[in-house]
Symmetry: C2
Subunit: 230 residues, 2 copies
């Protein structure tokens, strides 16, 4: 029986990847006079992966890797004014208003009456705190955990810290890799709600459909009736 | 009677500001053909303060603000290769080994036998976690709190979360502004251990010497005998 629900934040409660997507579109347009747009994505992703250990997740790391990639791809031909434009598009991302996903504003307060809710996210500390505050949902969560990585060990620490038995825990999120597979491995339930965009780093081949505690939903309104079946 | 001790991390347990200091020296040298070195610091600090709300504390924000400042100060004359050098000096900062301050390796384990220790720091999540792991001191702390800001409200939340009575709490740190004044305001004890360098943003005019629960030490070895007097 589920007593505690963990919610991912970006692309589960509010839009995020669409902001990255539009920023990358701006970035490709900025570089198109130097480099074919199709290759820009591949090069940027390679830089992001090389720098992930140094920068972690989040917009600031994206800005730094995008600047580095632009210098590489243009063989140093890019102008300072164009680099200033890369910084500006990142600053616009950080300042972007929080847009809740459908049902979030109704489902989260309703579930908070019957379950203990944890918000479990990863990324820049400051940026995640800003979005949580702006979402208007913070008061419904028993605790907010901002992690540098969402793997089995990190989830195990969070559940232990809050005295949660994994059997009584369901995690809801858009990333199979970061939200679902680690929780299934710990013996909890995983409710996958895909977002229409997935960052390449978060992609996994196949949903664990053979797992009895795995569920798939299309929108948050499907979550409350599903919880008693887990 | 003190039961719980909070330790700041950067410039209290290990060196940090000297890494920023050397990076800024490299940065000034990089820009000196464009701009007088004395004015570079002023401009960089102004950019950092303007961006603090967006970026928070830490090396990634420093790298982004240093890039932005270089473009401004050189009126866009700086080359992409020179901007790549700014990114490189930031990456070197992140990869810099952790160097403990004198006494830290002995005093922290000794105090952990008699007190509950909390590590309370601010900055980039990933970067702080890396330094805590590399310090070898993590196991002596009951909990590690990485905050986006160290003010009265943030400390009050941390103390409440761990069930700590402020009267029974002492905070040790190098910043009067971030480590000492908020704790004195909450009714706790503050032990100030200045580092030989202080970032301009952390400077306050005067130590609160009239406060009965304020102490000043020069090195960590002075801390254990002082705690029973607080």
């Amino acid at each position: 029986m589920i007593r505690t629900i963990g919610f991912d934040a970006d692309d589960t409660l509010w839009h995020n990847e669409n902001i990255f997507d539009r920023a990358q579109e701006r970035y490709r347009r900025l570089l198109e006079k130097y480099h074919p747009a199709a290759e820009v994505n591949v090069a940027l992703f390679a830089t992001e992966m090389r720098n992930l250990r140094l920068y972690g997740y989040g917009i600031k790391g994206f800005m730094l890797s995008a600047t580095e990639t632009a210098i590489e791809l243009t063989k140093g031909e890019i102008s300072a004014a164009e680099i200033r434009e890369i910084l500006r598009l990142g600053q616009d991302m950080i300042a972007h208003p929080v847009e809740l996903l459908p049902d979030a504003a109704a489902v989260v307060p309703a579930l908070a009456k019957d379950y203990r809710l944890l918000l479990i996210t990863k990324g820049d500390l400051r940026d995640q705190e800003r979005k949580i505050a702006a979402s208007g949902l913070a008061a419904h969560f028993h605790a907010i955990e901002i992690l540098s990585e969402k793997d089995d060990a990190a989830y195990a620490r969070v559940l232990q810290r809050h005295g949660v038995d994994p059997k009584e825990f369901a995690m809801v999120g858009n990333s199979l890799k970061s939200d679902i597979l680690p929780i299934l491995a710990l013996g909890g339930a995983g409710v996958h709600m895909p977002y229409h965009l997935t960052w390449q780093h978060e992609r996994v081949e196949e949903a664990p459909r053979h797992q009895p505690r795995f569920r798939h939903i299309e929108r948050l309104a499907e979550l409350p009736p599903l919880l008693p079946t887990l």
